[in-house]
Symmetry: D2
Subunit: 375 residues, 4 copies
């Protein structure tokens, strides 16, 4: 009694030489009916660790039966992954247009009559029927949008994202695996999932508003938030059955299979809590967990062009006035200023990310921190 | 009786080596009081022709007195201009973050109480006083925003734009000089200026809604559109005294001083119509002028990865079914398809831009056209 | 009685996503025995026009029988072709290592005992046998080198080039199709082929020494030059039966099928003179032909960082003192120097190439010219 | 009795915007006559740690008198340092031409009559006079070369290097501070300095032939090797008084001031052994030192396009058959091959460098190792 694993390719893009880039879709069906979890990795081309986790997950799924279905997309943006400039990966945005790959998803239910009509029609149905029918509507809307996107040729900005959204539409849980630049592990969690996100046991959580900003998590949960609002208008309380998280797995440009084993435990625990895995997996470390609101997620911008020596590590707590980074600027010799200067914390916090290089232009995103954290 | 020309530098950014990039501001004061025109060039780093026009304008201003004042910023984005990758300029977006340099301006009056308060207070003033006082308010709002932008260090995305907006705030007319990739000459014109834009005598005009999308023209005219709306709510009809245009001067990566002489005539004619130049300059060619709505500005996306031979030149009219480009794809040999294929027009139109290289990935912005043009 | 056309793919490189890049090899066999011509295009990824010519050549070969064999490699460097940074192609050198793709070929007979041994053994054979046997030796040497290149994994720098050399080893004539940046049409011709190169009827020819510098033409003709020298040492005069040219087909980043028709005529005339095509093709324009020694091929380096307006077109003759380019540098305003400056010719010449952008850093290769030209 | 510290700037390059890049030269004169040491950092733009060491050295020199003179160039290639593409530094080669910044130095005495003439004239002088006069000759040759390099405008490829060579010509010891990609600390040592290099106490040393390959160390020591050879021809044994090392200080893109303190100790110990510092500095760890010949410095090329998890750290010893890296390639799923594969050691060795990203194209330089090491 094992899982059935199917794989297929979806052609994505043709390069000028004629070589083709495709999505690799892996569908894992358990022996029993159950929820559907959708997992994708590295929509940002330099954020590799999710693929290591997927490798470990596939290994696990070879011998451990699940309840329900998991759809898995490793390397969900092959174009971005393959864009090497020098030895690094130019993967955060479309090298042609500059568009951030994780800001190009669509919010199909924004100011739409389809959703209010849907609410009216299905107001008296039970939750399960509503969920099922709503997914059909979302699928239809996506297909309409794809048609628009190909009327004058296949518009690449958006088409990859629509394809990913289409694949995720049928699911109940979405895990979008990313990393930061030099970063700790943390989650983006929509407000309505603050409690439920406990089941991922992540050490740091950013609680984001139930709003749309173009990212995968928002693109998949906002239709449900909007449906809830429409039903509320009609007097019905509706609990959203859908969950979506952006999962940040440390630093970019590296993979670690050893760390992937630990990362996998978080996902397996989550799936266990959602009834997709019967036996409880090994426990994960839950000692240092903190949260903050997105509005308390602050970026320090480099005060000077300089070489920086970062003094606080990702995940580390610091106090107001602590030195976060030391900069070295030899131009100062010619201004009769000290070569060395410090970037100090303006408030207590936890360091989440820092810039992946020591050489930084003034005004670049040097450090990102959580302030006003709570547990 | 000549103009007084002052110049100054505004430090912008420090590179990791400590070298500094600055804005070069040239202020030209005529002998008589009059309007204020603000002109900037190449916020997109590869769009050079505006600088050639500015060079010719400065030459003109050395001997021809004006009425009022002109503020001139050549090379308004030195970081983008200096970002050479290979032999070309990586100038459309921030190479660090991907943000399009012309989508980072701020709309200060969006959903703001300051503007409705302002309207209430000044409802009975005459137009001139309103204009003068409103500019003061805009200046204050910009300075507040700049303070926000520097609280955690100087956030580069936005800070350049805020600085440019601040310089333009005091003006009556804004000309933001750009170019397309391989392109004809055309204007972006907000709806409320459709008639007035005649004075620039541009062969092609895109009429854009009175909305904010992040660009310089919108960022400078939207506060006035919003003020007009607020005053209207209070029962007063107010004619917007302010004009702002994005001026597209042909193709990127080139300058032509000879063409700059012709381009300058357009600007001088405009300034003449606005009372800033007494004598009428030489006439410009006005034979082939067409307009269309932004919603009729269409992009053809490359159907295949291929080498393309463009068959219609920028500025050229074409009919539905005409071949716009021929593609060559040798991979087709291995699919038993013809190597050569055609991209045909879906509707009548005028070609405005095409991609600046023959080698194109599928899904890239191949060609941009005006449809449903009118005169 | 037509040609037999075979095509095959040679796998070249695997991208991080697993997508594969391959060489596309097209082999055209005529009905009669005869010479073997090898043609490749765009080893530099942005130099596209050769592919348009190959397209036209394939069209021709569908209906026109040849004598002998033609091996054709369009898009001979798919990795370079597909490396788009912004909208342009980063194709001149390996984006990972910086190595110029046309400087990575191998000179197998440099200081080698194999060749002197070969000369001794075959000193008394007739030319035809020597040619045939020597090709076998070259093939063996290339295979040995390839083995070295893969001992610790497939070393990409060199492996593409070895593969191309291997494909060309069996041939009698090699045409390596390139382009300049913004350029006229010209040929690189080794000294020993100065006379024979007349048959390509190219308007400009650079006569290069019989030396090895890493390029395809040199890599293929130098083994024959060296063989000739070894046989000479042994007292035998040997005429080299092999020809190799770098063929520069105008400017990079563009294709023109119309111009490809004219380019093709040059190649067909050449093949006709070599006995591979029976009927004489249409004549080509031979009016403006000049040559110069490589030592008279001069580069002007940009004297200043500036925007340049090029005043002389590729192919145009100029006199000492003529203005080649005008530069605009607004920083000069702050040095009380004129914004505009000129780059003047230091000697009479013909302009061959100029930089493909108007924005140029000081010290970059601004303009390339032939001096001391002769006919 | 302290050192006298002078600083000056040498203009290097003007960007298209007119902004200027300069060399920052710091000259430290001790109170007593003595040798001259030249130190430069980060000619490769992403190799930052040398600048941290220079910062610590300057701190030291503020209070510790030296004997002789030290010339210091932090950020010796500001153009390369400032070339940020994405968040990383595109600093290994000229982004315009591809030329590796550390392969553009000149070997002035290669096949030159000046040096054999010099040897004849000075054959009977004592070593000190020969050294002094020879430096004058080298300076003259460099100035001649610079004149050549500017005849048609300032040729940037080479001009930076000539300027650095000129600054180093007067010195007795040259330390060129670099880093690897992800790397341990190691030295490049010319054969004739194998013994003397002990005084730098570096854990790993590559013994390179006394040959010229374009790098700074070679460019500065080869003239002395060649002089020695010429004098030898005339029957005189001459001991080279000059030393030059390429000093590899760990990984690129980072600085660590803490590690810089340790790095500095190596340099101070060296200067102490050369009589430039009186008091012996603190000792450095000398436990794990190994050497190998350059011909035993091997590169493993990536066998597949994949994500790699490096299994051996820089500086770590390994045995034949050990797993150096694990690759993950999801394309294998579609070839019915295992996703995971291993790169195994072909021989015993010490890992020196590995690629700085986990995402690697097939054929890229994955890992560099020393084999046949000795102590």
């Amino acid at each position: 009694m094992t899982n059935i694993i199917n794989k297929r390719k979806i052609p994505l893009r043709e390069q000028p030489s004629g070589s083709e880039l495709s999505l690799k879709v892996i569908e894992v069906d358990g022996s029993f009916e159950g929820p559907h979890c959708y997992i994708q990795a590295s929509v940002h081309g330099a954020e590799h660790q999710g693929n290591a986790v997927i490798y470990k997950l596939l290994e696990y799924l070879e011998t451990n039966p699940i309840i329900g279905k998991i759809t898995i997309l490793p390397m969900a943006n092959p174009l971005a992954l393959d864009t090497k400039v020098g030895t690094y990966t130019f993967g955060r945005f479309n090298a042609n247009t500059g568009d951030n790959w994780n800001r190009l998803y669509f919010d199909f239910t924004k100011s739409s009559t389809e959703i209010s009509d849907f609410a009216k029609i299905h107001i008296d149905e039970d939750d399960k029927v509503i969920g099922k029918e709503y997914k059909k509507l979302l699928k239809k809307l996506i297909l309409n949008k794809k048609a628009e996107h190909t009327a004058y040729g296949p518009k690449y900005n958006g088409l990859l994202n629509l394809t990913l959204q289409e694949l995720a539409t049928d699911s109940d849980y979405v895990l979008d695996l990313h990393t930061g630049p030099i970063a700790t592990r943390y989650l983006y969690v929509p407000e309505y999932l603050e409690k439920k996100s406990d089941d991922l046991y992540f050490p740091h959580r950013l609680i984001i508003p139930n709003e749309f900003g173009g990212a995968m998590d928002e693109a998949t949960f906002m239709p449900w938030v909007n449906l809830q609002a429409e039903l509320k208008k009609l007097g019905r309380d509706y609990e959203i059955p859908f969950e979506s998280y952006t999962v940040e797995l440390g630093s970019e440009e590296v993979i670690s299979l050893r760390e992937a084993e630990e990362d996998l435990l978080h996902i397996l625990n989550y799936l266990h809590h959602r009834g997709m895995i019967k036996e409880a997996p090994a426990a994960v470390n839950t000692s240092t967990h903190v949260k903050c609101k997105l509005s308390d997620y602050k970026t320090y911008y480099a005060p000077r062009g300089a070489l920086y020596d970062y003094q606080v590590s990702p995940g580390q707590h610091f106090k107001k006035g602590d030195v976060l980074a030391i900069g070295i600027n030899f131009e100062n010799l010619f201004r009769n200023e000290p070569v060395k200067f410090e970037v100090k914390a303006l408030a207590d916090g936890v360091l989440i990310n820092h810039y992946p290089s020591s050489s930084v232009q003034s005004g670049a995103e040097l450090i990102q921190v959580m302030e006003n954290v709570y547990v």
